[in-house]
């Protein structure tokens, strides 16, 4: 009898628990799952936002792979972008985290300071600021001219635009940095002390203690940042609108153009599902590879 009561109470608690997360569940079902399923269906139609969609079978997908040069261009740009922005961002975040891990007076102030770009980072205002920094007569060129370096079209030259845009992303290293910092704090000081006593140099300590100990966090950051980078949109949209010569035409921009500029929602949905598969592929590949380079402390 007593046991039954306990079960009941536990059950009741479970329900109450679900009740608490109900807002999220509803949000997920209505705002995420339903559109997700919808977009899968739309990807086989010619849905145009207005009017009834007509079923096309695999036509959208066929066209994307055989007859859409923009798709290839955009895929190329996005790959470069991921390859440039993600490693740079993680490297930078780690570097700053290590610096901010020192025991210096007022370190909390600097930690806050370095996190600020991440709070501002995704916003349109920052993208606009970036545009004014890097345009032909912008501040960057003005500063460079002081040292005698001729003006460069950082955002107007197809060769440099993507790199310049990537800098916006790299600059928003705050959240990755914070995770690295938390990870660094977890590494037992005793390990460092032991290594030092054994005569290991700084680089060796970094490579053989810090990196392996941080590897789970590196994996997490790598995957999250990779997914974000594949889906990035704001900076390229606001600063260059995909130009010059589609050199910054990220996948997200193409999705937007097809869906909201040309109103080809069906085609745009198909493109989204392809991006989904691409991200899924690289994420699982990273997970697979992690077996050989990620060390979890408790499995030692």
């Amino acid at each position: 009898m007593k046991k039954g009561n306990e079960m009941l109470t536990r059950k009741r608690y479970t329900y109450i628990g679900y009740l608490y997360i109900l807002p999220w569940i509803i949000g997920f079902l209505v705002l995420q799952l339903a559109p997700l399923i919808n977009s899968f269906w739309y990807s086989f139609t010619n849905f145009q936002l207005l009017g009834d969609p007509k079923f096309l079978g695999l036509d959208n997908y066929k066209k994307i792979f055989t007859n859409d040069p923009t798709f290839l261009q955009s895929l190329k740009v996005t790959s470069y972008y991921v390859l440039i922005a993600v490693p740079l961002k993680l490297g930078f975040a780690l570097l700053i985290a290590i610096i901010l891990n020192q025991n210096i007076k007022g370190i909390n102030f600097f930690r806050t300071l370095y996190y600020i770009p991440s709070i501002l980072g995704g916003s349109v205002a920052i993208s606009v600021l970036w545009k004014y920094l890097f345009m032909n007569q912008g501040i960057v060129n003005n500063l460079l001219s002081v040292v005698g370096i001729p003006a460069t079209d950082w955002l107007g030259d197809p060769r440099y635009a993507l790199g310049t845009i990537s800098l916006v992303t790299v600059w928003q290293f705050g959240s990755s940095m914070l995770l690295f910092l938390a990870g660094l704090k977890q590494i037992p000081v005793s390990q460092y002390e032991a290594a030092r006593i054994d005569g290991a140099g700084r680089l060796r300590i970094f490579a053989q203690i810090t990196i392996p100990e941080l590897s789970p966090i590196i994996l997490f950051n790598l995957i999250m940042q990779m997914i974000n980078a594949f889906q990035d949109f704001t900076s390229a949209f606001v600063i260059t609108q995909g130009g010059p010569l589609k050199s910054t035409y990220l996948y997200g921009l193409m999705l937007y153009d097809q869906g909201f500029k040309f109103f080809k929602m069906g085609y745009s949905s198909a493109l989204s599902w392809i991006l989904f598969v691409i991200i899924l592929f690289f994420t699982s590949l990273t997970f697979r590879s992690s077996e050989s380079w990620v060390h979890y402390g408790d499995s030692l």
Partner: protein, 423 residues
């Protein structure tokens, strides 16, 4: 398993209440009417529009008007999404090319006839050419908007160019190149890549009538395309226009280019409706466009500044049309609105503003000269957003020097044909 089921039930119930609440609100029809108006613009448009709406509500206490307004960026996307979701405003300000693009996809705008609004106030051809789709009048033009060529007289003079020059395609080059010859950072034209597309469309219109005609066909030959691109190559080669690497950042906003703002570029193509914004703090005047001998069509565009439509899904269409009638023909509204949407398209609108002395001589001159020079309306196909993108992409490649004039012409025709086949 059971848990999941209960969970789903709860979720469904919750969703049910959400939707039920929605429909209950929609059913409420008696009593005071609330109408929503949406438009894009700047403060010079928002403030007078809100004032006119207030005045209407004061005279018609049963009608409450709500404004939904903001800038141009993303406005079209918002409107289309709202129309698709059934949440669009009752009265919507749209750009002229959208009328056909949206009306072709369904019954989205209410039909307007003479019993609702005194249509004799408008130019009949204007209504027929620009506000009608499939024989039905779907909106009312706010004002007459034309292309104009703005020039900085003082800058031209300081480079030894007569500011009163009557511009031809030839003297744009022979005179215009003097500027860049004297100052490597200064140019005759302020054109960004999108403005270069407009110039190209004008040139092709004069050579061949149109880029894409009403029969959904490419209207120019490869030779004519090559001729046009060869001409504009000289703009780049002889320093008439700044290289795209400097201007592409200002796509669709050439007026934000510091070179333009700081008076390093002397002239631009623009619309009369956005002329003031483009000129900013500079001092400029307006000129007519070059027209070649034997031109088939001047290519100078005239169209409504904007079109006001009534949402066919509106629950209070009759009331919405009454509001439109007020905004377009009531002297009080016209006075309050002033030039918020350019020189009005109605007879009474123009006479009211003229009596107030509100129409600036510059806007009047530019409009009159533009109307005098205006060519044929562009086909809806030429204004299609995908067709525009195809033109822009080829012009970008050409402007960045990736295509020779002959290659650009061939590629443009090929890509246009491909996209036209899907429309």
């Amino acid at each position: 398993m059971k848990k999941t089921l209960v969970l789903l039930l709860i979720a469904l119930l919750a969703m049910g209440t959400v939707f039920a609440a929605g429909s209950k609100e929609a059913a409420k029809q008696d009593g005071p009417v609330t109408l929503r108006l949406s438009w894009w613009g700047g403060d010079s448009r928002h403030t007078p529009t809100l004032k006119a709406m207030e005045a209407y509500s004061a005279a018609n206490p049963n009608v409450k008007l709500e404004g939904e307004y903001g800038g141009w960026d993303g406005y079209y996307q918002k409107i289309v999404t709202q129309i698709a979701g059934g949440t669009a405003a009752d009265i919507i300000q749209i750009d002229q090319p959208w009328l056909a693009e949206l009306a072709s996809k369904g019954d989205v705008f209410a039909v307007i006839d003479n019993s609702m609004v005194d249509l004799s106030q408008f130019d009949a051809d204007f209504l027929k050419n620009y506000c009608t789709y499939d024989g039905k009048l779907l909106g009312l033009p706010t004002g007459t908007n034309v292309n104009t060529f703005i020039v900085d007289d003082q800058m031209l003079t300081s480079f030894g160019i007569d500011p009163n020059t009557k511009w031809t395609w030839d003297n744009i080059i022979t005179e215009g190149k003097k500027i860049n010859q004297k100052d490597k950072s200064a140019y005759f034209s302020g054109a960004s890549p999108d403005i270069m597309r407009y110039w190209f469309e004008i040139y092709i219109a004069q050579l061949a009538g149109a880029v894409v005609d009403n029969n959904k066909k490419v209207a120019f030959t490869e030779a004519q395309g090559t001729e046009a691109f060869t001409y504009f190559k000289r703009w780049f080669d002889e320093g008439i226009v700044a290289p795209f690497s400097q201007t592409s950042l200002f796509y669709q906003k050439f007026q934000e280019n510091p070179s333009w703002i700081n008076g390093k570029m002397a002239t631009s193509w623009t619309w009369v409706s956005s002329m003031d914004k483009d000129i900013g703090a500079r001092k400029m005047s307006t000129r007519q466009f070059p027209v070649m001998a034997g031109a088939k069509n001047t290519g100078v565009l005239m169209r409504p500044s904007q079109i006001m439509v009534v949402n066919s899904n509106s629950k209070n269409k009759a009331e919405a049309v009454k509001v439109l009638n007020y905004l377009f023909t009531d002297p009080q509204a016209l006075e309050l609105l002033g030039l918020a949407r350019g020189i009005p398209a109605t007879v009474i609108g123009r006479s009211t503003l003229a009596a107030m002395g509100a129409i600036s001589t510059m806007a009047e001159k530019a409009t009159n000269e533009g109307i005098a020079q205006a060519g044929l309306p562009q086909s809806t196909y030429q204004m299609n957003s995908e067709v525009i993108q195809v033109m822009q992409d080829v012009i970008d490649e050409f402007g960045f020097g990736k295509l020779t004039p002959a290659e650009a012409s061939a590629k443009l025709i090929k890509n246009l044909n491909a996209i036209l086949a899907t429309l």
